[in-house]
């Protein structure tokens, strides 16, 4: 018996940090939180918009059992509402529009009816309310001592098919609540942030010869980087933004190339005569990419200096896209092979150290996975029942959230 518990102890701690294991948290075990609105500006519609956004963000944190009832209160009341007296936490906020139409939010967090955290927020106008909501959630999460969710504040950039050969590129928050159309007209695809600060992005223009362009957001200026026959796509940008992986086909052959931003020179990395696409940096000397060298699309790694190729995934009939974060690879696998009916594509997570596989989605077409920088969240595109959405998977809490697009179909995205 002692040996059994010793083994149980060892196994528990060995896998405690492994994201490929499902983590089931009981809702009842999470602390409760209610939200109280003490706003004195803005109409009821906007008040409800902000309240719902905040409740949604708190839910995405996955550290609270969030009460979704909307209630008003005076901001300076000492006690929480009587309806919330049994709540472990109460978040009270006041929205106030100043003389220059600025959007101000004051915040108090109560624990057991005592104030434990306060903060004030300001934005140029209330159009940006969703970013304040995300910032509040990030702060509350930090106050609770949880692992960082800074990814909530990052901007999402995506291209949307609106009609044949017509797309739009849009910048939004991760819930698609705020959307800014940065490029419209023509066929522009595969936007990819060019740096950590998200001040410019690469994208593919297909209006003439496939061309990789870079657009500076503040100036609105776009410049051509390089062109290629066939296809030209920026697949990944190195953490220091000095190198990018591109898929191009100068000799009609789609391969992965490494492009040095400073020298403007590109080096061919993959050389297989079939399809090699979608390169992702794994470390300074290793890339992960999609290839059909086994007769179907699958995920491989390759050392940049030696060219040694290794198969990464041994599960799935057709694995055509992936994202890498440290030892983890999330990939898209086709679960059916049918030309005559709907197909299901699911996302799977694998650890390169343990080879355990965890399925992350269950229905529809789930594709274009993108890890957050900290590896705790995966953003992805979901198309199901004529509805295109951006989804967020929280690995540690084992929860998925979907944010539908009102019209059009998401073609590709980055965050």
């Amino acid at each position: 018996m002692k040996i059994f518990f010793t083994w149980l102890f060892i196994i528990s701690f060995s896998f405690a940090g492994d994201a490929t294991f499902d983590v089931i948290k009981k809702v009842d075990s999470l602390p409760s939180i209610a939200v109280e609105d003490a706003s004195i500006s803005y109409d009821n519609t906007f008040k409800m918009q902000f309240f719902k956004a905040l409740v949604a963000d708190l839910n995405v944190l996955s550290i609270f059992n969030v009460d979704g009832n909307y209630r008003n209160i005076n901001f300076n009341d000492n006690n929480v509402l009587v309806e919330n007296k049994d709540m472990k936490y109460v978040l009270r906020y006041k929205m106030l529009e100043d003389d220059s139409a600025g959007f101000n939010v004051e915040l108090k967090l109560y624990k057991d009816n005592g104030v434990v955290f306060t903060k004030a927020y300001k934005a140029n106008k209330n159009d940006f309310y969703i970013f304040i909501s995300h910032a509040i959630a990030v702060d509350i999460n930090e106050f609770m001592g949880e692992a960082s969710v800074e990814w909530m504040k990052r901007k999402v950039i995506f291209s949307k098919n609106v009609s044949p050969k017509k797309t739009e590129i849009i910048i939004s928050d991760y819930t698609l609540t705020y959307q800014y159309k940065i490029i419209e007209g023509g066929l522009n695809l595969f936007p990819k942030w060019a740096n950590q600060a998200q001040t410019s992005f690469y994208y593919t223009s297909l209006d003439k010869k496939p061309t990789l362009k870079q657009l500076d957001i503040k100036s609105g200026q776009s410049k051509a980087i390089m062109s290629s026959d066939g296809m030209m796509i920026c697949s990944d940008v190195s953490a220091d933004a000095t190198k990018i992986l591109v898929t191009m086909a100068p000799n009609n052959q789609p391969d992965v190339y490494l492009y040095n931003v400073a020298t403007q020179k590109s080096t061919r990395i993959t050389t297989y005569v079939g399809i090699d696409v979608g390169g992702q940096f794994m470390d300074d000397n290793t890339i992960v990419f999609v290839s059909n060298r086994l007769g179907y699309p699958n995920i491989f790694s390759q050392k940049i200096n030696t060219g040694v190729v290794e198969q990464m995934i041994y599960y799935g009939k057709s694995n055509a896209a992936c994202s890498v974060n440290g030892e983890y690879v999330v990939y898209k696998a086709r679960e059916s092979s049918d030309a005559f009916s709907g197909n299901t594509f699911n996302l799977h997570l694998i650890s390169t150290k343990t080879d355990f596989v965890r399925r992350l989605t269950a229905t529809g077409v789930n594709e274009f996975p993108r890890f957050s920088k900290d590896g705790d969240a995966i953003l992805f595109i979901k198309n199901y029942m004529d509805q295109s959405s951006i989804g967020v998977i929280r690995l540690k809490s084992n929860k998925n959230f979907l944010f539908p697009l009102k019209s059009g179909k998401v073609q590709s995205m980055d965050w």
Binding site: K119, V277, N292, A321, G342
Partner: protein, 169 residues
């Protein structure tokens, strides 16, 4: 103790403020065939402009259709490619052929674009084998972004797995 606005929020707001004061960088859909407009001004033969001739010839080229997740030319498509090769070597021999590879809706990732390109390449190889000048052929893949049919049916999907011919002066 109240702290002041999060710096990152300020950054976000400033960035978006910057956006809103700028015109979006509109990549006007000038189109791959933008040169055709200039050519059309170059006179005509029997009342047919260069633009009209290209449009007429393009209709004579038949799109090549492919099986699901495949890029090899099906047996039933071989004769269509042969007919197109004959056309390319005769009536359209002075024009450049642009092969546009397309895919069905099952996937918006790079692999789907590469699949479209490999479909174009298959047609290109077949045209070259039939004697068409390789230097007169260019290729591009539109992935799933250029559907001719948007219904959720097998017939519709099969129409989108194709290579189209476009003629350039």
């Amino acid at each position: 103790m109240k702290s002041i606005v999060l710096s990152s929020v300020v950054v976000a707001v400033l960035v978006f403020s910057g956006c809103s004061s700028k015109e979006p960088s509109v990549d006007a859909s000038s189109g791959a065939n933008s040169g055709m407009g200039n050519e059309s001004a170059k006179g005509s033969m029997n009342g047919e402009t260069s633009e009209m001739r290209i449009a007429r010839l393009e209709k004579q080229f038949s799109s090549v259709y492919f099986d699901f997740d495949k890029f090899d030319i099906r047996a039933d498509m071989q004769s269509k490619v042969s007919d197109s090769a004959t056309l390319a070597k005769t009536e359209a021999k002075d024009l450049t052929i642009k092969l546009e590879g397309n895919c069905d809706e099952w996937g918006s990732d790079e692999y789907n674009f590469a699949l479209g390109l490999k479909r174009s390449e298959s047609v290109k190889k077949s045209l070259i084998a039939s004697g068409v000048d390789a230097s007169k052929i260019t290729m591009v893949s539109y992935g799933e972004s250029n559907p001719v049919c948007t219904e959720k049916t097998k017939d519709c999907w099969s129409k989108n797995r194709r290579v189209d011919y476009k003629l350039l002066p």
